[in-house]
């Protein structure tokens, strides 16, 4: 009897150890988020806690939505450096069309036009690189240049430094707005999780990231699934643009700038392998986005001097990636 109990305990301990060993990177990413949450709670006790919570949700919402879409292309081992500029153009388009048509209908039309453009860009990004034999970074660079120029030209044509959406799209009540954002994030996370883990889209995009040649030889259409992956990102970019619009109601020539790199950092903090493959997880998007947002928020509320904020962020980033991305064995990781 005691031998059975001992061996049972041993089995439990062994399975727990192996669970931890297998999921060490995910656990570390979650631990990073947990630490940020704890610090957030410590430095935000009192009446400003709920205010700051809603501020964090607002800041993290755009990152979360973009990151959810970016997981599909990062799982293929690609990246998109034009993301920020795309978001900027979509927000400007929504405002211009929304103001032109007027009313809530104008905003809806503006969103649909931006969505159509985003899906088209996704298709171009995905298809062109294969048809023309180009590295994905090249088509991404092209779109980055194109959208930067388009953003400048659109703002120039308005004759204003910033443009404002006349129709109000943000709920007046702060709590309602926060709940709306949480609802959007949860909905997209559920949809993203379903497509990534339970459909061919997620399975094949990860397979492409794991080994493109093997994927092709096993019958996976690279063109089709690459295009669909980029279109998933395009969809999320359009939704993220709308969320950004609800937040400020305005746009300018620099709206969205730097988001491509921010999303990359979010995914890295969330434990996403940048080479993609089967270890890619949709949860990396939310974990990373909230970790990144909380980090910035906590450093400000802690009163870290302005000159040192970036240094602390860099050190924390390096520590987290050393815990989550280290590959101790084999050749140097690429």
């Amino acid at each position: 009897m005691s031998e059975t109990v001992t061996s049972q305990k041993l089995d439990e301990r062994t399975s727990f150890k192996s669970f931890v060993k297998t999921h060490i990177f995910d656990l570390t990413a979650y631990a990073g988020l947990a630490v940020m949450l704890v610090l957030f709670l410590i430095f935000n006790s009192g009446p400003r806690l709920m205010y700051n919570f809603s501020a964090v949700v607002q800041a993290a919402a755009v990152y979360s939505i973009l990151a959810l879409g970016a997981v599909f292309i990062y799982s293929m081992g690609f990246m998109d450096v034009s993301l920020g500029q795309q978001v900027g153009v979509y927000v400007i388009l929504m405002i211009l069309i929304g103001n032109k048509i007027g009313g809530p209908g104008g905003v809806v039309v503006g969103f649909l036009v931006s969505l159509a453009l985003a899906l088209a860009c996704g298709a171009i990004n995905g298809a062109v690189s294969i048809f023309l034999g180009l590295p994905s970074i090249v088509t991404s660079l092209f779109l980055m240049f194109f959208f930067t120029g388009a953003q400048y030209l659109m703002m120039e044509s308005t004759g204003e430094n910033t443009i404002k959406l006349i129709q109000n799209v943000k709920p007046a009540d702060r709590n309602t707005y926060t709940l709306m954002l949480i609802g959007i994030i949860i909905l997209l996370a559920i949809i993203g999780n379903y497509f990534f883990n339970y459909t061919k889209l997620g399975k094949y995009t990860r397979a492409i990231g794991a080994n493109k040649v093997a994927a092709k030889q096993s019958g996976i259409s690279l063109v089709k699934w690459q295009v669909l992956g980029y279109m998933a990102l395009g969809f999320c970019a359009a939704v993220a643009s709308f969320v950004m619009l609800t937040r400020t109601g305005t746009a300018g020539k620099g709206t969205g700038s730097g988001y491509a790199m921010d999303i990359m950092i979010c995914l890295i903090l969330g434990g996403m392998p940048l080479k993609g493959g089967m270890k890619s997880k949709i949860s990396c998007a939310l974990v990373g986005a909230f970790t990144y947002t909380l980090l910035s928020n906590v450093l400000t509320t802690m009163g870290v001097p302005l000159n040192w904020v970036n240094f602390v962020k860099a050190c924390i980033f390096l520590l987290i990636v050393l815990l989550t991305c280290r590959k101790p064995n084999g050749v140097l990781p690429r």
Binding site: A55, M155, G254
Partner: protein, 388 residues
């Protein structure tokens, strides 16, 4: 390898634990906290305003927190203001008019007041006046110079060119060209161009023997798209003696240096950059720089402190205002020497135009006789003459 992970995890935990050793609340009564959203994160202007505000902390019982805003990302500005609010700020001063309505909504939700500094809030003034200037949480703003039609910078440039010619009769400036930023971002710079040309035409009519030629403003050539001037400018404006740059000199001077004309061509510009004293006046190309005193932040600061302390001036206007501010127009070696003694460059609060007691006396709670008119009057006394 396992031990490496453990060590790293321990280091991370320790780092965060030590970070918790931030200054805790002191026994003293809680100071009012004012957040300042600056337009850049380094440079003389930043160091100068921080030094001035630091000198006011003890007397006014105020603490200042700083952040940097974006010139063109409104969502980031909203985030930065939210972070200041979360850090416990009772009032916030910002230097950008980007996402202002959303920012004011955040302030209203948190019961925090907002003021402006070095910004005329022109876009909000023209297109969103009711939601910004009539908002009870907006106390007003002081511009970097004049506001709207009060901006006569073109005349200042003209005066500086004439002063230069009078100082150097052997080598006067007879041929100039101009540059501006794009109209959609800086609409009033086109007015400066018209003002300058108007004054030159008047001068030429009265002084035909000393006429100054101004190259017609070319909207394609003479507009800098937020990046340094390209070298073809000099080819397109052959034979000029000087550039009248309505935008900051740092967008023009590097190109003058690389084109090899910095020794022969003069530059009249806005703004002041670190190290410009070495190439100013008799030492170099710069002949005019226009700077707004750091002390102009006193205007929104006093209004914020009044609001936070629940008091008002007896002559307080019903709506928030945007106020013009006099500027340091530095266009001679003597002016530069005076400017070098200001807090802008010494980073010493004792060199400021106002002492902490002066500022306290400007507030309604520190001085029951203080008035709004008295506060506005100080904005007219931030010129080079006032540094003497």
């Amino acid at each position: 390898m396992k031990s490496t992970k453990k060590i790293l995890a321990l280091v991370l935990t320790l780092a965060l634990v030590f970070a918790l050793a931030a200054p805790t609340a002191s026994a003293k009564a809680r100071a009012v906290k004012i957040g300042v959203g600056l337009y850049q994160d380094s440079g003389a202007a930043v160091s100068g305003v921080k030094a001035y505000l630091a000198s006011l902390e003890d007397t006014l019982n105020v603490k200042f927190a700083y952040t940097v805003l974006s010139t063109n990302d409104e969502a980031l500005n909203v985030t930065k203001v939210q972070e200041l609010i979360a850090a416990g700020c009772d009032g916030i001063i910002i230097t950008m008019d980007g996402g202002t309505e959303a920012i004011l909504q955040e302030c209203a939700d948190a019961g925090v007041y907002l003021g402006g500094y070095l910004c005329d809030f022109d876009t909000s003034f023209r297109t969103n006046y009711d939601k910004v200037f009539k908002n009870e949480f907006f106390v007003g703003t002081v511009a970097d110079g004049g506001c709207g039609d009060e901006l006569k910078r073109g005349y200042d440039f003209f005066d500086s060119v004439i002063e230069y010619n009078e100082r150097t009769p052997d080598a006067p400036i007879r041929h100039v060209a101009m540059t501006t930023f794009p109209a959609f971002a800086f609409p009033y710079q086109q007015n400066f161009v018209a003002q300058f040309v108007e004054k030159v035409e008047e001068y030429n009519a009265a002084n035909p023997d000393k006429a100054i030629e101004v190259d017609p403003f070319n909207e394609e050539t003479d507009i800098l798209m937020f990046r340094p001037m390209d070298s073809t400018y000099f080819t397109k404006h052959p034979g000029i003696d000087a550039i009248v740059s309505m935008c900051a000199g740092s967008f023009v001077y590097p190109t003058m240096v690389s084109a090899g004309v910095s020794d022969t061509m003069k530059l009249f510009a806005s703004g002041y950059n670190d190290g410009d004293d070495a190439i100013f006046g008799s030492k170099g190309a710069y002949q005019q720089e226009i700077v707004c005193a750091n002390e102009s932040i006193t205007y929104p600061l006093v209004l914020l402190l009044n609001k936070i302390n629940g008091v008002e001036f007896p002559d307080q206007p019903a709506e928030a205002e945007r106020k013009s501010c006099s500027t340091f127009i530095i266009n001679s070696d003597e002016d530069l020497e005076l400017f070098k003694n200001s807090v802008y460059l010494t980073f010493n609060g004792e060199d400021a135009l106002f002492s902490p007691e002066d500022v306290l006396n400007l507030t309604a709670y520190g001085n029951p006789d203080a008035t709004y008119a008295g506060l506005c009057e100080i904005l007219d006394h931030m010129t080079i003459e006032d540094l003497k």
